[in-house]
């Protein structure tokens, strides 16, 4: 990555589902090698945008490209990692069986597969759980299994939908540390959250509301521009005042 070429490029991106406009004419870029936060209230279109990026949501109008290739192109399937809000793993398989299967699908074989599993399991603090059925895991452990599958293939782009929900603060801190280490190594991360205290941990922010972006800037720029004390206040100001937000 030269840094000059954005990894994600959207132009006039529109997604409509059963008559509702979910993504409303979005034009944006996401730069490589940093952590971009997608922040906004639930129902604002974060998940739909992420599903569109990984190619499982049809685009109504406009264009969306990742790594210079249209979203959903077969060539992207091994290069883009995706974790959903629900863990989307097999509860009736053990952790190892889940990771072996998804790893094989991602093209990892034998030694490389074993090495990738060991590394991911260590990174996500899941060591020692390999032979347990995932269905018996706690909510926080389950969320990390979903994340593990996304990380397994060491993808160039990571799309993580609310990856830290329900995790204890220590683990959350560790995960954000890992996201930044991955970004330094060249991975492009898009991380969604509805918790504003996570916004400050991102290199760049997309503030989203009702299918549109309120702001696309670094946390510092947003604070400066709005004159707000913190990012939550900045979001409220950008969204048109605290009173309207309080009613929702």
């Amino acid at each position: 990555m030269t840094g000059a070429d954005p990894v994600v490029r959207a132009e006039g991106l529109v997604v409509r589902r059963s008559g509702h406009t979910i993504l409303d004419d979005l034009t944006f870029t996401i730069a490589g090698g940093r952590v971009t936060g997608l922040l906004g209230p639930s129902g604002c279109g974060k998940t739909t945008l992420m599903r569109t990026l990984v190619g499982v949501q049809e685009i109504t109008a406009g264009q969306l490209a990742l790594l210079g290739v249209p979203a959903g192109h077969p060539r992207l399937r091994a290069r883009v990692g995706y974790s959903t809000q629900d863990p989307a793993v097999y509860p009736d398989l053990t952790l190892n069986e889940n990771l072996r299967y998804f790893g094989t699908v991602l093209g990892l074989r034998r030694d490389r597969l074993t090495a990738a599993i060991n590394k991911t399991v260590g990174d996500l603090d899941l060591a020692g759980l390999g032979n347990r059925l995932v269905g018996t895991f706690s909510g926080g452990q389950l969320a990390r299994v979903g994340l593990a599958v996304a990380l397994l293939g060491a993808p160039d782009v990571l799309v993580l939908d609310e990856p830290t929900v329900g995790l204890d603060p220590v683990l959350r801190h560790d995960l954000w540390g890992m996201f930044h280490r991955l970004a330094e190594a060249g991975t492009t991360l898009l991380v969604s959250s509805h918790v504003m205290d996570e916004a400050a941990r991102c290199d760049f922010l997309l503030f989203m509301r009702e299918g549109r972006f309120l702001a696309e800037a670094t946390p510092e720029q947003i604070l400066q521009r709005t004159g707000a004390a913190d990012l939550e206040a900045a979001f409220l100001r950008l969204a048109g005042g605290p009173r309207e937000e309080a009613k929702r």
């Binding site: 599903r51 049809e58 959903g72 959903t84 629900d86 097999y90 009736d92 398989l93 998804f102 699908v105």
Partner: protein
Amino acid sequence: MTAEAAISWTLTSATARRVLAQLRHDPRTVAMMLAVPSVLMILLRYTLDNPLALDRFAPVYIGVFPFVIMFIVAAITTQRERARGTLERLMAMPLGKLDLLAGYAIAFGLVACVQVTVVLVISLTWLGVSLPGSAVPMAVVAIFDAILGMALGLFASAFARSEFQAVQFMPAFVLPQALLCGLVVARDQMTPVLRWLSDVLPLSYAVDAMQRISTSASWTAAIGADVAVILAFTAAALVGGALTLRRRTR
């Protein structure tokens, strides 16, 4: 599109092993898949309580019971894959649709082999069903019937939005076929419309093949023709399943 048409043996066998591993962790389901056809045969034996009638009906049911059970199991399993989000995850990964469906077909096909072997052994020994020839053709056709049921179940699940709907596809897809396949009334005694319907339903050929095997000492061309139709329906259902499996939601 060429990527969609290709099938990878590694990914297909990984999927088959994954489905079998899921079953291994669910021994109660496996026990039911293996035992239910046999229990039904035992019931049939004692309700008919007539060796001649049993020789006539038992082969037909040996073809039908595994068909029905495989239909339900396959329909529910794929529906669960949709509901849990694992299908969406796989569709965002480099897995071909045919890899997924063929993996399912192989895993459930192996289960069908065990299922049919158990019901055949019990029928031919304990229950005293007698065949004019070898049991091998019957085993082969019964396994094909079970795989046909599985393929139709996979296809049907594409139209189910919930597990509740998927369960209801059993009576909706399977019971009309059971009524029209010659099990209740011989097909040549049906009115033309029903006869025509019966001709286009796959279970009719499954039952026809089993009836022919139970009255013929050797493999005949007519049995071969029935088997060809069964395999064609199976292939069509798997391809239909791949076509209805969408990578992208609208």
